[in-house]
Symmetry: C2
Subunit: 342 residues, 2 copies
């Protein structure tokens, strides 16, 4: 484990991307999202993205492309990701959503045909900091991760959802896979030679197992809820797919182009009872929640993601820890692109 300066990691990302033809202001936005994700502790979806960009930019991702607005109504917009970075579609979606939610109370932006957003949570930070609620669903067109509930063959990606809302203090920011775990966690288990803490996979014949190696051998990950309640995770995942079809994207189809679709909902609490009542009631409620006795094996009662913004600020002053595995991978990316690695 080694600590890296936030600005130097950010600068590395910018140099990598501009070297591949991405305009500087866009490279800065994208690198910022990537380094922030690492900074808030979602290490599976953080600076690992620089490897993804190294492989994809100029191959599948068009470094000069910009997402396009296809259609707008008072409270909605439809964006075509136009084979550009998913981060740029998200930036545009957030700008439109904030403008529309301020006017109409809420806004929903549907996006098709983009690339990997990385962790959903990171994108919602600026929205809760402005006092909005946000809900974000994402879907991948080609992944073979999860079988329908009761089935054996993969028909879904690990389709995640993120939920965020402000409180009187730290916002909640939750990032949830509709599968029992994200693909990055499956790979982590395999690398570490560990099993899952339950039978969360099916092997290629549909037998439940806790062995992550069943996955690369043609198995699948069960939905969130596992063997007995996976029908609930399945319903959430189907919702992601239906939003994709609604946005004109490709629902799961291993023969399609690998693209990500997402759906962003932004809500302005001022359109309802207003911030004063909201914050007062949330203060009382969160104190009530935190007054519960704590179970053996837990260190306290948390609100999901309540350390996100503190972690981000800390990373900017104290640096970001990276493990040997990631340092090695990024050093290889640096060498390949004739860049120095911090």
């Amino acid at each position: 484990m080694q600590y890296f300066n936030y600005d130097k990691l950010f600068d590395f990302g910018v140099r990598l991307l501009t070297g591949k033809g991405v305009p500087k202001s866009k490279a800065e936005y994208i690198s910022g999202i990537v380094v922030d994700t690492e900074a808030i502790g979602i290490t599976t979806h953080g600076v690992a993205a620089f490897q993804f960009f190294d492989n994809e930019v100029g191959v599948n991702i068009d470094p000069k492309a910009a997402p396009k607005i296809i259609k707008e109504k008072d409270a909605t917009a439809l964006i075509d990701g136009n084979s550009a970075f998913g981060q740029l579609s998200m930036k545009l979606a957030k700008e439109l959503a904030v403008k529309k939610a301020k006017k109409s109370g809420i806004a929903m932006i549907g996006v098709r045909n983009g690339f990997w957003l990385g962790a959903l949570a990171t994108h919602l930070i600026s929205l809760v900091e402005q006092g909005f609620f946000a809900q974000l669903w994402a879907q991948n067109s080609t992944c073979k991760d999860c079988a329908p509930y009761g089935g054996i063959d993969p028909r879904f990606s690990t389709n995640p959802v993120a939920l965020a809302f402000p409180t009187n203090k730290d916002p909640m920011i939750a990032d949830i896979s509709t599968a029992a775990m994200s693909m990055s966690k499956v790979n982590q288990l395999i690398r570490d030679g560990r099993k899952a803490d339950d039978k969360l996979f099916l092997d290629k014949d549909g037998n439940p197992t806790d062995d992550p190696n069943a996955f690369p051998k043609g198995g699948t990950i069960l939905f969130f809820g596992g063997d007995k309640q996976g029908y609930k995770g399945y319903a959430f995942s189907l919702w992601c797919e239906a939003l994709t079809a609604m946005a004109g994207g490709d629902c799961n189809n291993p023969g399609a182009k690998p693209r990500q679709s997402f759906n962003l909902l932004v809500i302005d609490p001022e359109a309802f009872a207003g911030m004063d009542y909201y914050q007062k009631e949330m203060k009382r409620f969160i104190e009530h929640v935190k007054s519960s006795r704590v179970r053996k094996g837990f260190s306290g009662i948390r609100i999901p993601g309540d350390k996100t913004i503190r972690k981000l600020n800390e990373a900017k002053s104290k640096g970001i820890p990276l493990g040997e595995f990631m340092i090695e991978k990024l050093t290889a990316v640096a060498v390949k692109n004739n860049l120095s690695f911090p």
Copy 2:
């Protein structure tokens, strides 16, 4: 098990409610929702509601009250349930949402201070039949059902969410508790002398158990995801609470008045890529999903709630089955109110 004529059960509900001072057109709407819920097979939240009404109408529920619109924007409205039937708040919320979604693309209606809606799924049927997506979250102010993740003491109701969308054929209508099970299912297990199929409860000291009797002895129900992934169900439940605060309602507070808040989101697919693309892609996708091999122990691949509308139509022609337990309860309600029971 005995079959009852749909119209006769409906008429029983209307007579019960009008006898308690509910205006006839409102009694008909409410009884229709209740009998439809039984008809679609959600027997835990169906005609059992007639018992609830027998106890509550004229005591807590004002039979003459009507919900009030507090605030409106292009795509939002805030309703005060005004101690009226939750079903009437929902009726108003749906009317407003459909009108606004047609104009603005989507609509969100926040409702506070209402009474028990029963099963969420039933309310969404008319919305998907009109071609809309719908998402509905509900919360109860006073229930002591679930502890915060990592905690022991109850701070949440079983806060449910329902998701519905049309397809080219049968719509998906999923109704999901953010707890590992609904309260009605806990009571069912206790009545049947059965255990849960996993350790889905905590006893009063925070020890996991599969015994539902731990609940009435001061225990709690774990969140959806159980002991290991319950932090996900916890996040969904917190979202329900935050929407309640946003609507000016009471987040969980055993000292407050027992009320239900809900939040309805309605989406018009025509505001995005439109129905033609949507239905074509959903047809392909659902065929892809259903082409999966089926696991041992399952009879086929289903889309959640895809039999809802068929069940409703069948119940209208063939009748609705009720068990001895429910027949006894409703007969007692009939006797108490000087009504004949079908």
